[in-house]
């Protein structure tokens, strides 16, 4: 510690130290939006259900930033939302989207209280990205940004409510340059006596020494029930501890090595029967990046995620695949529940998880069967290779990915599944034209007896073309194609995430969503987009199509 020369503040300190005199006591900012949708359903032989839907809303999120002192900020986002068609304010709702108190103690320790965004590593706390896009066209990514905004999906952060401390120890002129600390506790869910759900907290810390050789980190997350917040029947807890590191090029010439390894333990304590169920397992993930060959960015990594490794904050899916939109819920004269598809996932009222829980949620194998719960998906081992070439031509970036994984132990059988994923994306900008393309092909296979055999393939294609017609006017268009064929077993998990119900499911489906429209920009803060979508869905049970017209106005201020 004799080399400790100073204690530095972390990341945002400069924000407070620069020109404090000029900062206002109160600032306002916000977003406003109007979204109008008209949808028209086409399905054979349906004389009983409505085939048109017209709905929309306007909202304003007013952000207020209050600085009671030079080292303290209070941030709140207030929302007023009006569903179109509400009678004299009858459909108006008011809410608070965010309330955060943040500041710095003694110019050394940064704290956040209230709504905070947290992320650590892909094996501890990580909000995994969407599974229904590869390299989406602008016309769709505009819409997806609304979903992210509404559900607090900011990069891979989870919105939590609690308290966080961040600080750093700085060692100038030393091989050990600094050590960053991040400590937090959040309230994960409240106690509900009726459902025998105890109060649950989520705590963690991360210590990251940064050295001349690279960065290393020790990370711990802990999701646990608090005793005696109700008449306890069962108590859950999960701990995950990981060690991560990145070694820079000075250590291995021309190669950046990275790794993460760790261990988890999950406990369910049944206080009625006095039973204690425990599972524990470990993982490792190691790889390197290099630019040594042909000017390519090459990344190769291998991973081995134990079958019982559990980290709920990192093993999650954003989209609730079991959700059902209220728009055209039943179709055809047989009153069939309309299968959900990529149009619903982008535009309609389906549910996205904005909080993780202790269980592995239902996933949809035709969107992602290989790593449905992100990089920390349990029971996987294999290799990934990623090649990226920037400026292949002027303005052209090409990315190729290949993943070969398998289960470590079988599910319901000793036979194991193998997974292959090939993915490529391309971005090309030429004069007034911007082209985006992405394709992902995934194949799952398992041998064995007839009831064990699995053979499933799925393909997602994204394409987009934007043309700048005038300075403030763009033609935007895109297409999404999703196909799948084969069979899989859909799993329902018990409380220890053991798949106890397996439902054989057969797929033979294709869905296509195409869209085109005009986007008018009013300065850099607001846009008006009008678009027309044509969507078709077909599987072995039902075919339908939906045409959609959208007007979307967005304003940031």
């Amino acid at each position: 510690m004799k080399h400790l020369l100073s204690i530095g503040i972390f990341l945002f300190c400069s924000y407070f130290s620069i020109a404090q005199e000029r900062l206002k006591k109160v600032e306002f900012y916000g977003k406003a939006r109007t979204n109008l949708l008209h949808q028209n359903l086409n399905v054979e032989v349906d004389t009983t259900n409505p085939n048109k839907a017209n709905y929309g809303h306007s909202l304003i999120d007013l952000g207020i930033l209050i600085r009671p002192s030079n080292s303290t900020e209070i941030i709140t986002d207030l929302r007023i939302r009006n569903e179109h068609g509400g009678f004299f304010g009858g459909a108006v709702t008011f809410g608070v989207r965010r309330l955060t108190l943040k500041g710095i103690i003694d110019d050394k320790i940064r704290y956040n209280i209230g709504d905070i965004d947290l992320k650590i590593t892909p094996y501890t706390l990580h909000n995994n990205s969407y599974q229904t896009e590869v390299n989406e066209a602008t016309i769709f990514s505009n819409q997806r940004s609304l979903i992210s905004y509404e559900n607090y999906f900011k990069e891979n952060y989870w919105r939590q409510q609690g308290a966080q401390l961040e600080f750093a120890l700085v060692y100038p002129n030393s091989k050990l340059q600094e050590i960053d600390f991040n400590i937090f506790t959040t309230r994960h869910n409240t106690a509900v006596a009726a459902s025998s759900t105890p109060e649950r907290l989520f705590s963690g810390f991360s210590v990251v020494p940064k050295t001349l050789l690279g960065n290393f980190g020790i990370h711990t997350v802990y999701l646990y029930d608090l005793k005696n917040t109700i008449n306890d029947i069962q108590l859950f807890s999960n701990r995950a501890h990981t060690l991560s590191g990145t070694l820079n090029k000075e250590f291995f010439k021309n190669y950046n090595f990275f790794f993460e390894t760790g261990y988890s333990k999950t406990k369910i304590e049944d206080l009625i029967s006095n039973d204690l169920n425990e599972i524990e397992d470990y993982f490792w993930n190691i790889g390197f990046k290099t630019q040594k060959f042909w000017g390519l960015d090459i990344q190769l990594n291998a991973l081995n995620n134990g079958a019982y490794y559990r980290a709920p904050g990192a093993q999650n899916i954003r989209l609730n695949y079991l959700t059902q939109s209220g728009v055209f819920n039943l179709i055809s004269n047989d009153q069939v529940q309309r299968p959900m598809g990529i149009l619903d996932y982008l535009y309609n009222d389906v549910n996205y998880f904005n909080q993780f829980d202790e269980s592995l949620d239902a996933y949809n194998p035709i969107f992602n069967n290989t790593m449905p719960y992100g990089q920390a998906t349990p029971n996987r081992k294999g290799l990934s290779l990623q090649l990226t070439k920037k400026q292949l031509l002027e303005g052209l970036t090409l990315n190729l990915n290949g993943h070969m994984f398998s289960e470590i132990i079988g599910v319901g059988t000793e036979e194991i599944k193998t997974f292959k994923v090939y993915q490529s994306s391309l971005n090309y900008k030429y004069n007034r034209f911007t082209i985006k393309f992405g394709v992902k092909h995934e194949k799952t296979k398992r041998d064995g007896a007839n009831f064990e055999k699995i053979d499933l393939w799925s393909r997602q294609i994204d394409g987009g073309l934007d043309i700048k017609l005038m300075n403030d006017l763009d033609f935007i268009s895109g297409i999404k194609i999703h196909e799948a064929s084969g069979n899989e077993l859909l799993l329902d998990y018990d409380i220890l995430n053991n798949p106890f119900i397996m439902t054989p499911t057969f797929y033979n489906m294709k869905q296509v969503l195409s869209a085109f429209g005009l986007r008018l920009s009013f300065g850099s803060h607001s846009t008006l987009t009008t678009s027309y979508n044509i969507y078709s869905y077909e599987d072995s049970n039902i075919d339908y199509s939906i045409n959609q017209f959208q007007i979307l106005y967005k304003l940031n201020f």
Binding site: W284, I408, V411, E452, L491, N498, I501, M502
Partner: protein, 334 residues
């Protein structure tokens, strides 16, 4: 050197071996849910001839392709005695099919041919396998059985000297020898009350000195009795037996077998500790048991001050009994 040390440390971490069991998999077995059900090895026994004097226990063997519900039934061809085993497994073996010659209930096996039938079922299929065996020697009587009355070596008059039969229609409280639970004879308690009375009659068995029990622990001492209702399955509403055990110090303890609605012999083994007393200070002492009274009762067909069951009019009450005994440590095994 640093690189080697680091690589060695990482290698150590990544080389860790998991402790998965051999053949371990996650979740329920797909084979159990969706696999074809068939026998892998056919049903076999420890032999074809069974001598329970020489060898006290035998077992059966078979394996099938998946965990499934199974039932193994051994049926005596002459006695119609049945011994059955049920469970959820993928094999029959020494752990789940040990047979010591006993039957599920009365009647007991005799020296006879038996058919062994194994049935295994999943949701949509049932498969069978059969085996024929022969019992050379039936099982010996289990140890620590104290027979109170088996109705084999007693005459009617002696048996009824302390008993009582009400006035009623078709009253039949006699030793019979048609379908006994054990041996040749059993005691019939049959009749119909033609007036508003629950009590049809009783059988009072005095326990003489020769039959006096030793001092046993009440919780591990079982009172055993074979009981059957009408063979024609015509059961009056609420017919039952009340059993009263009296001790020399005046304490008495009661239990009931109620209602009696079955048409083949059943053995009841009731721990003596479960007999109830009207007195809080009465203590069960098996060596003081000197009398057992078995009362035949039923809801009367004639409605009156004691209530009644109109539907019981013209229906004979039948509560036949056989093989009354005490056993120590375990129930009587027919």
């Amino acid at each position: 050197m640093k690189k080697i040390t680091l690589l060695f440390c990482l290698g150590l971490i990544f080389a860790c071996e998991r402790a998965y069991d051999e053949n371990e998999f996650l979740g329920n077995s797909l084979n159990d849910q969706f696999g074809e059900l068939k026998f892998s090895t056919p049903l076999s026994g420890s032999g074809l001839e069974y001598n329970f004097i020489q060898i006290s226990q035998y077992n059966f063997n078979a394996t099938w392709s998946k965990n499934a519900n199974y039932e193994l039934r051994i049926i005596g061809e002459n006695s119609n005695a049945i011994k059955s085993y049920t469970g959820y497994d993928n094999s029959l073996n020494a752990d789940n099919s040990i047979w010591r010659g006993e039957a599920n209930d009365f009647p007991s096996f005799k020296e006879e041919s038996c058919q062994v039938i194994l049935s295994v079922s999943d949701l949509d299929t049932t498969i069978y396998d059969t085996l024929n065996i022969y019992i050379n020697e039936t099982k010996p009587m289990q140890s620590d059985v104290y027979i109170i009355e088996d109705f084999e070596n007693i005459d009617q008059a002696t048996l009824m000297q302390n008993s009582f039969v009400q006035f009623g229609a078709n009253m039949d409280f006699n030793i019979q020898n048609d379908f006994a639970a054990e041996g040749q004879n059993y005691f019939r308690m049959r009749g119909e009350m033609t007036w508003n009375e629950w009590f049809l009659g009783n059988l009072v068995l005095n326990i003489n000195e020769a039959k006096t029990l030793p001092d046993l622990t009440p919780s591990t001492t079982y009172f055993n009795i074979a009981v059957v209702g009408s063979r024609q399955e015509l059961f009056p509403e609420d017919q039952f037996l009340e059993i009263v055990v009296r001790e020399t110090d005046g304490d008495e303890f009661r239990t009931q077998i109620r209602p009696i609605e079955w048409s083949s012999w059943r053995n009841f083994s009731i721990p003596y500790s479960e007999f109830e007393s009207g007195s809080d200070i009465a203590i069960k002492e098996t060596n003081k048991i000197n009398q057992i009274e078995i009362l035949c009762l039923s809801c009367p067909g004639v409605v009156g001050s004691q209530g009644g069951c109109v539907n019981n009019q013209g229906v004979l009450v039948t509560t036949d009994i056989d093989f009354i005994s005490f056993t120590e440590n375990e129930p009587y095994q027919p």
